[in-house]
Amino acid sequence: MDTMTSRERVLSAIHHREPDRVPLYAFSLDPKFIRAFGDGNPFKAFDALGLDSFPIRVQNWCQGVPLLASLVMEIPEDQQTAGGAFAGWNGIDEFGRIWERGSYIGGALKTWDDIDKYVPPLKLEERTPPELMQKYKDLYPDKAYALNHHSGPFGLTMESMGFEHFFFMLYDDRDLVKEVLERRTKWYIEVCKYVQDLGADYLVMGDDVAYKGKTFVSPEDFTELAIPLYKRIVDALDIPVFWHSDGYVRPLIGLALDAGIRGFHALEPVAGNDLGEIKSKYGDRAVLIGNVDCVNVLTTTDLALVRAEVDRCMSQAKKGGGFMIATSNSLHGACTPEAVWEMYRYAREVGAY
């Protein structure tokens, strides 16, 4: 039986206290779940799933098409292939990333002359309309609000330059890379400060820096190029900052904690992240959010497998607080509604302290 509000539960967990039960979190939902669980209304979907933190999304555009466009406009079938949240995205977006049928395929920012083109205007009120934010805080006053903002400086710089070009530029023109990183960080801080002031309780900075088994760049390069930026983002905000990344982030966890990052989301098991090992090493300092396998488990309709996966995560990370259960990435389109529903239902059942 719940004895706390969602907000109390989340704030307790992220301050390393054991709440009444493990909070439920999601980084983002594919439109198919927003339709299935919320009739197209994201906040209804969050509420139906029982999320304790409601994700606040900052709007981005590709050639005028917003994120989650398929919820508000007709997207031709052939443009929805693999599109999900990016259905309808074709061409170069405002950051310089190149899209084809909703899939990222490369970066357009190649030279110093391109920088101004691909660091977009802030457009703060358009990205996060204050009246909309207030409306949902009035409708759901007991929820925590997480700014889940997947435009972190390092990953976005790599994507906007194209991975291969970024890697070459680290050697051919490192100053170009540093300038783009600097401009992205300043932009990111301004957007996050604005949403913080609208009432976000914490930030989950989406910044993909790794893949299966490895980080994209060496820990030495990451220490030089990214860690100072993370520290600036942490220092600029009054709310706790957590970090979402795909891939194997284990080698970077200590560095990020030293920079002031308070926790980590995703912690993909298929990438090699071991939730239990990370909890035992860093559990007193790091809030862990994730780890339910959304590649091999949530893509099935085997509900016993889903429950076993939730049990695994709980046994590895629940003790002592500092844990919110979530998938090991987003609720992406290959997950099944049955598995997603069962994951959250069962997590509420077994998450009590």
Partner: protein
């Protein structure tokens, strides 16, 4: 001359493309067999890079500039390699499967196999099964390497292998799969011959599978 070949390998490891180019040209001018330049200079250098990548001593940027340096040397050698026997260690076809537009991982695999002396035929991204089948017929590769980055395109790895089976070509080629959502178990379940965690291990794994096939 052995020293120069070592210098080529060293320059590949350090990603010094202009130095590789000059040294390769110098070796050719002095009459060194281009196969020897490739094997003891370029491939030797990339072999060290592959080992360092596996050992987490090098990461993607370092591998990419090493591959760029190697390619600079290969560009000098290519016009003369064609007239020499045994220039290639094998032939591999690469493709990202139908419905998937991602290619960074595939491009890394391409670099590593080129660095190991393979002739690489890259079919690109979003490759329909029919095109893969036709490429196997036309090119008769030793290895087929398929990648999928999205969980949603994983099933197309199986579809591609089934298309090969239907065309009577499945046994003619070693089929490997890889990509972010791919696991060894998935590879086993769909009947792939092999799976590799990353680009560096893909070359090793291909060699193991080829050796196994030759001895069976």
């Amino acid at each position: 001359m052995e020293q120069t070949l070592k210098e080529i390998a060293e320059a590949v490891i350090k990603g010094k493309a202009p130095i590789v180019e000059n040294l390769v040209r110098s070796c050719l001018d002095q009459g060194v067999n281009p196969i020897e330049i490739m094997d003891k200079g370029l491939i030797a250098g990339m072999s060290v890079v592959g080992g360092k990548f596996k050992a987490d001593e090098m990461y993607l940027p370092e591998v990419m500039i090493a591959a760029r340096a190697m390619n600079a040397g290969l560009a000098v050698l290519d016009p003369v390699l064609g007239s020499h026997d045994a220039a290639s260690k094998g032939k591999i076809i690469l493709a990202t499967v139908n419905g998937d537009l991602h290619d960074v991982g595939k491009n890394m695999v391409s670099m590593m196999f080129r660095g190991a002396g393979y002739k690489v035929v890259d079919l690109g991204v979003n490759v329909p099964e029919e095109k893969i089948v036709q490429a196997i017929r036309d090119e008769k590769p030793d290895v087929l390497a398929l990648s999928a980055l999205l969980t949603m395109t994983l099933p197309n790895l199986k579809t591609a292998l089934e298309a090969l089976e239907k065309a009577g070509l499945r046994k003619s080629v070693i089929a490997m799969v890889g990509g972010a959502p791919v696991t060894q178990k998935f590879a086993d379940d769909i009947g792939a011959d092999g799976y590799a965690l990353d680009a560096a291990s893909a070359v090793e794994r291909a060699a193991e599978l080829r050796a196994g096939r030759r001895s069976s």
